[in-house]
């Protein structure tokens, strides 16, 4: 018997990917002024949808770092758009909060099941 529920597994996977996405956004922001640097993105949701549709585990879905959509390339070849990155950062932080809240809720249910209160 496993003590973790599928939802808990899914949430921890989503949290992992959110942390990875934060890395990628931080990398983009750090390289705002690097000539020739192009925006990167994490591709995960499509893979997750596919593996869930095939009744597979969430861990089967692979998160990939791919070329992302940035702004228009500047003269130095860099296409990082600060506003876009800040919006992605906020969105990712919000998702991260959602996942932790769901996880906290799940864990609180465990606790009440164990203690009977």
């Amino acid at each position: 018997m496993s003590i973790t529920t599928p939802r808990l597994d899914l949430m921890s996977r989503l949290l992992d990917v959110a942390a990875m996405r934060h890395d990628v956004i931080a990398q983009n922001v750090a390289n705002i002024n690097t000539p020739g640097y192009t925006t990167l993105e994490v591709n995960f949701e499509d893979a997750l949808r596919e593996s869930l549709a095939n009744k597979q585990d969430a861990s089967a879905a692979k998160a990939e770092v791919v070329e992302g959509t940035g702004g228009l390339p500047r003269e130095d070849g860099n296409n990082v758009d600060v506003d876009m990155e800040m919006a992605r950062l906020q969105k990712n932080s919000l998702y991260f909060k959602v996942y932790t809240q769901i996880m906290a809720n799940e864990l609180a249910q465990y606790r009440s099941a164990i203690t009977g209160r």
């Binding site: 992992d16 942390a19 890395d23 956004i25 931080a26 750090a30 390289n31 991260f96 932790t100 606790r111």
Partner: protein, 146 residues
């Protein structure tokens, strides 16, 4: 997995901040020397510029852990701007040549100011990313309470 790898995003943002800060220092030096007719290498001061390079460690694609192989940015070099030096007519200047012309630094203060603002905004963007990371880490740690 070490605890450091959890906070790798913090290192990325920190590298961006330190690179932008160095850029601000170079810009400040340019502005301070915008009228220096005696530079370090003889002749008028030459405007300097930083060269940024993104750091990519060997990337582990599609792994489950939060190590994405990114290292942020680093300053690889501070180079001299090879553009032409303006010459102004000022016969009374001690560094004037025979025909009364003085070679001035190729620093344009408006351009430096624009670069300074860009560097400052980029610094703030990195700081914002760092603040987000802190919030996220606090949220994750709060799970221990449940």
């Amino acid at each position: 997995m070490s605890f450091d790898s959890l906070l790798v995003a913090g290192n990325i943002s920190a590298s961006g901040m330190s690179a932008e800060r160095l850029r601000m220092e170079v810009i400040a030096n340019n502005i301070a020397n915008s009228l220096s007719t005696r530079g370090a290498s003889g002749g008028a001061y030459r405007r300097q510029d930083v060269v940024f390079e993104s750091i990519m460690n060997d990337q582990t694609q599609g792994n489950t852990g939060p190590t994405s192989g990114f290292g942020g940015v680093r300053v690889v070099d501070v180079v001299d701007d090879p553009s032409e030096m303006p010459r102004i007519h000022d016969a009374g200047h001690p560094d004037a040549d025979g025909s009364g012309f003085v070679t001035m630094p190729n620093v344009s203060v408006p351009i430096e100011m624009v670069n300074l603002m860009t560097a400052s905004r980029a610094y703030e963007a990195n700081l914002k990313a760092l603040q987000s990371l802190r919030q996220q880490m606090e949220q994750t740690l709060s799970l221990i309470r449940y």
